[in-house]
């Protein structure tokens, strides 16, 4: 039941960010929403058993492709480079909520996908050992991405 609730919540969040990305008038707002869509999709891939695909999704789409979009938007001057203080606050609050959620995940145990897989091969024991530090890895990763997100929002909030 908890698993289904979690999947429905993440799906609703993905749909909400996609709708904002597609129907927003400002390209800069669309870019930020698309960033969160890609990150949420990476979280889904990671939670449901494939951390490699999830991390690759986050690194390529949330990282590289978002920077490419940002460069193109700045080159073409399509954005007015002003998302306002309200949206900056929303970005900061959203990042803080993600951090709190991951911290709660770290404290609790037995949530879906955040437990090591069953390894039958002895040679895979290293991965089982590394998995113990997986929540901390995720926490550091999301901290870095939240910082990058606030930086991008700060960049948009300045007139150049």
């Amino acid at each position: 039941m908890a698993s289904e609730l979690l999947s429905i919540t993440i799906s609703v969040a993905i749909l909400a960010t996609v709708l904002v990305a597609l129907f927003s008038k400002k390209v800069s707002v669309s870019l930020i929403a698309l960033f969160w869509t890609s990150t949420l999709l990476g979280v889904v891939f990671t939670m449901y058993g494939n951390a490699l695909v999830g991390l690759m999704q986050i690194v390529t789409f949330s990282g590289a492709v978002s920077v490419l979009f940002l460069t193109v938007i700045l080159m073409t001057g399509e954005s007015k480079l002003d998302i306002g203080a309200t949206r900056l606050t929303i970005a900061v609050v959203a990042g803080a909520l993600v951090l709190v959620a991951l911290a709660l995940t770290q404290v609790s145990s037995g949530l879906v996908g955040l437990s090591p897989s069953e390894y039958t091969d002895v040679s895979l024991a290293t991965f089982s050992f590394l998995w113990q530090f997986r929540p901390w890895d995720l926490l550091i990763l999301v901290t870095v991405f939240a910082s990058a997100m606030v930086t991008v929002a700060n960049l948009f909030s300045r007139e150049t």
């Binding site: 698993s3 289904e4 999947s7 429905i8 799906s11 993905i14 749909l15 996609v18 709708l19 990305a21 597609l22 129907f23 390209v27 669309s30 870019l31 698309l34 869509t37 890609s38 999709l41 889904v44 891939f45 449901y48 058993g49 494939n50 490699l52 695909v53 690759m56 999704q57 390529t60 789409f61 590289a64 492709v65 490419l68 979009f69 193109v72 938007i73 080159m75 073409t76 399509e78 897989s117 390894y119 091969d121 895979l124 991965f127």
Partner: protein
């Protein structure tokens, strides 16, 4: 797990249709590329969720078929988007606008 599969499969298919609809009426080439990314993300989510029913063979928790295709799709999709954005920049330099209908008028 089957309920999760249905939820994510539905979300993925919805994303694909939303992206295609947005491509068809978009007035900005950057938004068109963003819509293409939404289609790609939806397709990846649907493909990933198709392997969630546990009937596929796994190695160290990785489903061999679907996850490999999603991995390949992520990398190829990122490359395609990079090329698309490069084309957008070239179009803007040549025509001075990103509106497809204006570009069509300027061509004639």
């Amino acid at each position: 797990m089957v309920a999760d599969q249905i939820v994510f499969m539905s979300t993925g298919i919805l994303l694909v249709f939303l992206g295609i609809a947005s491509i068809s009426y978009s007035k900005n080439l950057i938004k068109t590329v963003m819509s293409f990314q939404v289609v790609l993300l939806g397709a990846n989510l649907a493909l990933f969720s198709s392997g969630l029913n546990g009937s596929l063979s796994t190695v160290a928790g990785t489903r061999l078929t679907t996850d490999s295709f999603v991995f390949l799709s992520v990398l190829v999709g990122a490359a395609v988007e990079a090329v698309g954005l490069a084309i957008v920049v070239n179009v803007y330099r040549k025509y001075g606008t990103l509106n497809p209908s204006e570009i069509r008028k300027l061509r004639h």
